[in-house]
Symmetry: C2
Subunit: 168 residues, 2 copies
């Protein structure tokens, strides 16, 4: 599980796609303009997103990309994994390599932590983020009190921070 700006770009682009999903296929040029990501870089990212069955492409005029599943069924971890092509290179693969065992020990601990992070991001869908977006926009346009309430809810969810025992 890596987390770099590359994954950030991918998530941002996918969010843009989710937000405008009602408009039919969205061209990369549109996303490029809105999100200020270079077109060719988007092309590279979407090639990977497509290979990982996250988006569908429609060629020709009026074409573009669509989410392959509902935004409720696409999770952040998938997107990040898709563009990072995570080839997790743990030095000590398998039990045979480590004589001292200590290497295995902390490696294992890290792997575990990495899995937890992954599980965490696997529980956040694009729809979750879009829903927030709309809450935020509505709040900005209309009432401040609503915004505060929504923020409170979010923060509570955040502060919870509990790792679901199921992931372990």
């Amino acid at each position: 599980m890596r987390l770099t700006t590359k994954g950030r770009y991918a998530v941002t682009a996918m969010l843009d796609l989710a937000i405008h999903s009602d408009r039919g296929p969205i061209s990369l040029a549109d996303i490029s303009q809105r999100q200020e990501i270079s077109l060719s870089y988007l092309e590279q990212l979407f090639a990977k997103l497509r290979k990982n069955a996250l988006v569908n492409s429609v060629r020709g005029p009026g074409g573009g990309y669509k989410l392959q599943r509902d935004s409720e069924a696409i999770f952040i971890a998938e997107i990040i994994d898709a563009v990072n092509e995570s080839v997790d290179t743990t030095k000590c693969r398998g039990a045979g390599d480590c004589q001292g065992g200590e290497t295995c020990l902390t490696h294992y601990l890290w792997e575990d932590l990495s899995e937890q992070i992954h599980g965490f991001l696997q529980n956040i869908s694009l729809a979750d983020l879009v829903a927030r977006n709309e809450v935020k926009r509505i709040a900005e346009n209309q009432d401040r009190k609503q915004s505060l309430v929504a923020d409170d809810v979010d923060l509570k969810v955040l502060a919870d921070g509990q790792i679901p025992a199921t992931t372990l």
Copy 2:
């Protein structure tokens, strides 16, 4: 919030420190051997960890590094932030830059997500990772340099990837 092998190395090294905290100062050479991280790379990492008040150094013979706080009070997010020196360069800093507003929206969403990940890792302490019964037992076994057979058994448990849900 970035998450790369660099942060992984740092967390691994800090874990090693936490595990052997009862032995007094731990030299980087020891960590280097156990965790298979180059000494000079460790030096760079620990320079940053020291600047961020996560470790203390003891110079001279028998010297090394110690955790500056209890392992219960050192959180994964701190370690990763320390070595990554996160200067998050969001393109649209402040609201003024974005005409369409959409850029701001998704940037905001990402920031929010990033904060969530950060908050998540801020809730996991070094002690949390170390204080798993099995792991602790394995560590003790390794320290005592028990028979190879025992090691094999332990390693098999490790490779299994099962963690008792009770730990977190």
